[in-house]
Symmetry: C2
Subunit: 456 residues, 2 copies
Amino acid sequence: MAKPTVSLPQGTRDFGPDIVRKRQYIFTTIRTAFELYGFQPLETPAMENLETLMGKYGEEGDKLIFKILNNGLDKKEQLAREEFEKILQGRNTKAITERALKYDLTIPFARYVAMNQGQLSFPFKRYQIQPVWRADKPQKGRYREFYQCDADVVGSTSLLNEVELATLYAEVFNQLGVPVDIKINNRKILAALAEVCGGPDKMTAITVAIDKLDKIGLAKVEAELSEKGLDQQQVSIIRQYLEITGTNREKLARVKELLGKTETGEAGIRELETVLDYFDPSMQAPPLLIDFTLARGLNYYTGIIFEVKARNVQMGSVGGGGRYDDLTGLFGVPGIPGVGISFGVDRIYDVMDELQLFPADVQMGSQVLFFNLGEQESKTAFTLLQQLRAGNTRAELYHENSKFDKQFKYAEKKNIPYIVIIGTKELAEKTCVVKDLRNGKQISLPLEELLNFSFL
Amino acid sequence: MAKPTVSLPQGTRDFGPDIVRKRQYIFTTIRTAFELYGFQPLETPAMENLETLMGKYGEEGDKLIFKILNNGLDKKEQLAREEFEKILQGRNTKAITERALKYDLTIPFARYVAMNQGQLSFPFKRYQIQPVWRADKPQKGRYREFYQCDADVVGSTSLLNEVELATLYAEVFNQLGVPVDIKINNRKILAALAEVCGGPDKMTAITVAIDKLDKIGLAKVEAELSEKGLDQQQVSIIRQYLEITGTNREKLARVKELLGKTETGEAGIRELETVLDYFDPSMQAPPLLIDFTLARGLNYYTGIIFEVKARNVQMGSVGGGGRYDDLTGLFGVPGIPGVGISFGVDRIYDVMDELQLFPADVQMGSQVLFFNLGEQESKTAFTLLQQLRAGNTRAELYHENSKFDKQFKYAEKKNIPYIVIIGTKELAEKTCVVKDLRNGKQISLPLEELLNFSFL
C-alpha cells in the first residue's frame, strides 16, 4: 500500500463517520433542549479582528491566540519588515496580522451584542455551538481545535434565568443518560466569607485557595490562606464553611448562621433559596446540589455559579457557568448583565464512550444494502431503493456486479445490518431475500412487501 | 445608545437566529438526503499544514490561502527575521507559518483518504458540510468565510454512482422546492470534439472557449477558437456541436452522427445513455437535461459532469460536480478515481429567500410565551412550561413580572405566535388564556387542557 506523504497539524483531528455520528447525537440533544427553552441560534465567524480578542484572556491567553498572517505582504516590503520587529517583541501589528481565530464563544458573543444591541430584544437568549482554537500544547484530551457549546441570557437580572439554566442542565444530562451532579453556589456567599475573614480584598485569595480544595486538600488550603495573611480565627471560619454538609436545606441553615448577618451573605443565600424553590422537585435525577466549596476560577462571575460533574468516572467537570455583571462593557456598551452555561462536549463524548451510553442506532449508517447481481436485477433494485429512500430508509445499491463475498464484506465493514438479494430467480418470481447480518436470519418476501419491512 | 468600538473582519458574517434557522433548514435537507443515499459524514479541521494546501489551486489560489502565523516567534528572533524575507518574496516558510485555513473540502478529503486508505472500505462515500476560507476581495455574494457542501464516492468507476448523484440532486432541489435544471455532459465527448477538431492538445482551448458561451455568445466563441488556430471546418463542427437541440434522445442521436465514430466519443455517449437509462423516469421534476455546451472549468474532471441552474432567477449555478480520475495521487497514493457533487449553499439560500420558499415554521423560534404576572402565577406557569417542553413544545416564561405591554412587545419582537396568560383570576379558577398573536383570537382553557393544545 502506498504511503501517504501528508499529515494533520498537531492538536487537530479528523472526525470519521462513526465519531461524527456520535458527536452529532450529543449536539442535537443539546441543541433541541436549548430551543425548547427559548434560546436562539447564533453563529459568528471563525476569525475576528485581532484587536477584538487581544487583552481579553490575560497574558497567557493572548499568547495562545492563533493569529492570521496578512496576505500580500510582499507589496509593502519595507513597512512589513519594520513592523515585523513588533511581532518579534511579542507584540502585534495590523500590518502583519489583523485577524485571529476565535479563542472562545463569549467574546465573539459580547462583540455581537455590542454591535447589534439596537436590533436585539432583551432579554436576549442565544446559544452557540462552534469550534474555537487555542495554540496550547497538545496533550491527551487537549486539542488546538475543539467545540464549545454555550447558552447565555443577557439583559436580565431575574433569577428565573438561573432556574431555567439549572433545569436545562438536568434535562440534557438526563436525556443523554450521563449520571451527573449539578453543583450550585453563589459568588456573593464567597464575597461574604471574604468580608467576614479579612475583608473584600481577600476575596481573590480565598477563592483561588478554595478552588484548589479538590486537588490539594483542606490542610494545604488552610496553609495557603495563612500565608496570604489570614489569622487563625479567620482560617477557622473558612474551615467551618468548607466542612458544611447535609441536605441543601441543612447547608443553607448552617451557612446562614455563619454568614447570614452580612448583607451580601444574606442576598446570596436568598438567591440560592429562590432557585432551589423553583427547581422542579418532581424532576427526575440529576439533582441540584449546593456545594459551598465550588468557587470557579473565572473572576468575572458575580452571582450564582454552576458546575456539572460526571459520576462514576475520572473526569473533570462536563459543564459550568454562572452570572456575570457586565458582558459588553469591554466594547463600550455598559450595563448588560447576564448568566450563561457551557457544555464540555469533548468530555461528555469521552464519558459516554467509556460508559457505553450511545444508543445503538446512532452508530448505524445505511440500514440496508441491495446486492448488485446483474443489469436487470440492479435496475429492479434501484427502483425499490428509491421507494425505500422516499420512506426515509437509508439504503444503498452495491456499485457493481461483483462476487457475493465482496458485497458481503462491504456491508459488514460498513456495519450495514440488512442486505437485500434480488438474483435471476427472485427477479422471475418477483421476490427478494432479506437477510439480517447481525443474526444471520433470512426471509423471502414478495417485492411489494419489502416497502413495509422495518429495517431496524 | 452607546456606540460599540468593535467590528467584524471584512468578508465575514454573523448569522443571527433567523438566518441560522433558514440555513439549517437547507443543511438538514441536504444532509438527510446524503444519508438516505448511503453517504457518511466526515469532518476535517479548519487548519491544514500549509504544505498540504500549497500548489493545489494554481498560482492565484495559493495567494488566496489564509496562512496562520506561528506563535512564539520572539523566542527564535534571528531565524524568524531571516525567514521573514521569504514571506516578503511571496514564498512560504515553516519557520513563520506552518498552518493555513482550508481553501476547499476536496484537498482535505484527498488528504484524509490518503492517510486512512487502510481503514476505509471502498467505495468510500463521504459527505462534508463545513466552512472554508479564501482571502478573496469581498464583494456582493462573495465572502472570505463560506460553507461548502460536498458528496463524493471514491474507489469506484461504476456509473451507478453518477446515477445516484444525479438522483440526489433531483431529490434535494425537489424537497427544497427550488425550480432547477440539472444539466449533464461528458468530458469524453468534449475530448472527442477536440480529437475531431485539431487534436487532443486543443482540448483545453476548446473547453475554455465553450465555457464562456453563456457570457460572450457563439460568435465570440468562434472568434476565440479561430485565434487558437482552429480552421474554418473545425470551427464549423464546433458550431454544429453547440447548436444541437431537442430532447435528450434527439441530442444523443445528433452527437452520435458528429462524434460517435471516435472511440472516446462513443464511450462518452454510452455513459450518458446509461445514466439517463437508470435515472428514474417516474421521478418528478427537476429533469436531467443533456447540455453539450456544459464544459466546467476545472481541469481535473475526466468523465460525466453536472451543473445545476436555478430557473426564474438571475443566479449562477447552485451546484456542480463530475468524475475525476485520481483523487489522492497528489499525496503519493495513486489509483483512486471518484465522482462528486457540490451544493452552493449561499446561492441556494439567496434563491430561496428571493422566491420566498422557506416554510413558515422554519422561521419560528419559541412557539409560546407564558406571561409572568406574580410569584404564584409564575410558579404555576413554570410547571406547565416544563410539561409542554417535555412534549417538545418550544416554550418560554417571561423573565420578570413586568407590565403587560412589555411582555407583549417581547413576544412580538421575537415572533412568538402564542401567549399564555395566567393572572390572579385564572389562578383561582385553574384556567388560562391562550392568545394567537397572528390573528388576535383568544380562548380560555382549563389548565390541564393546555397540554393538548396545538401551538402551530
